[in-house]
């Protein structure tokens, strides 16, 4: 098909003019591997899912007549006799940001063709992600043992439990799926599966992982800090 043939010079026009050409000219709109375009579209739809969860949480919290539980105290830890509010959540945040950093570097080394570093960095990302899920499991068991349920909790508005389990549970599911995804990609990079078709797949996996980190930024701000 001739219409599908594109030379890279077609995409050199920058700005609004280039955007109009992308959509109006007889060519592929997104100059990237199809997997990358599809990942972006998926992430956009996932953005809407998490936005709806967080908006639902905002709605029940604003409409609750009982006081919202004191989140900072609920998630506090006492280590060696020192009381630290929200400590576990802070550690989880740092772990996830670090995993995003290692993933960004993995993408970079993949395009440079440094397979050894790429595998090590993706593996580090997956390990950090797995430890995040571990800490979340600890947090869930702690809250459940303290009597938090989707329909009740000892401290205040009963909607707290429903929002907490729904939002952090769905995010944790994304992290878990991401760990498996990264493990598969790391194995394939190590085997040299992408030597011929190129390393765009590492970038696509990276997009997913950064998105998981991005969602946590919003959960951290709205659920834990607000």
């Amino acid at each position: 098909m001739d219409a599908g043939k594109i030379s890279s010079s077609d995409y050199e026009q920058p700005g609004v003019k280039g955007m109009v050409a992308d959509w109006a000219a007889d060519r592929q709109t997104f100059d990237m591997p199809w997997g990358k375009a599809m990942m972006w579209i998926f992430l956009l739809s996932d953005t809407f899912i998490f936005s709806i969860f967080l908006t639902g949480y905002m709605k029940v919290r604003m409409a609750a007549t009982e006081a919202w539980p004191p989140v900072s105290e609920v998630f506090a830890l006492t280590i060696g006799g020192v009381y630290m509010p929200l400590l576990l959540i802070a550690i989880m945040t740092f772990v996830l940001i670090t995993s995003s950093g290692t993933m960004a570097m993995a993408v970079n080394y993949a395009y440079r063709g440094d397979r050894r570093r790429t595998v090590m960095l993706i593996a580090a990302t997956a390990v950090l992600g797995a430890s995040f899920v571990g800490m979340q499991a600890f947090e869930w068991s702690k809250l459940i043992s303290e009597g938090v349920r989707p329909w009740a909790n000892p401290w205040g508005a009963e909607q707290f439990g429903a929002a907490f389990f729904m939002i952090t549970g769905f995010h944790g599911l994304h992290v878990s799926a991401g760990v498996i995804y990264l493990a598969i990609v790391a194995r394939k990079v190590a085997r040299g599966d992408y030597e011929k078709k190129g390393y765009a797949i590492v970038e696509i996996a990276g997009l997913y992982w950064h998105f998981v980190d991005l969602v946590w930024v919003f959960i951290f701000a709205f659920f834990y800090l607000w």
Binding site: M19, F48, T55, M105, G206, L214, L225
Partner: protein, 105 residues
């Protein structure tokens, strides 16, 4: 920056952004640690949140180096979310007032 080579930037930029995200996260933790309240608390939380989100999207996800076509496809639909949040805030306010009027004991 076409599909042949993929995104390629010096490694230092990721380390710098990483450090910046650490610092911003630490600041948002301090907001809670020092028990800041009211408008100051909310504005600081939102500022740090949007800065972090912006850095992740722009640098780690490379969106600032992508073509305008993709940037608009991803960012314009977010206006629908803003509209949803506004509508639900109005509705929540209404629900709260109704509950206070008819259900409060």
């Amino acid at each position: 920056m076409t599909s042949d080579t993929g995104q390629q930037h010096p490694i230092g930029i990721y380390l710098k952004i990483w450090l910046l995200l650490f610092v911003l996260s630490f600041f948002s933790y301090l907001v809670d640690y020092f028990h800041l309240e009211g408008m100051l608390r909310w504005s600081l939380i939102l500022t740090f949140m949007f800065l972090k989100a912006g850095l992740i999207i722009a640098i780690f996800m490379h969106l600032m180096w992508e073509r305008l076509s993709l940037q608009y496809v991803l960012l314009l639909p977010l206006l629908a979310i803003v509209a949803l949040v506004a509508l639900m805030a109005i509705e929540a306010d209404h629900t709260f007032l109704m509950r206070m009027q008819f259900l409060a004991t």
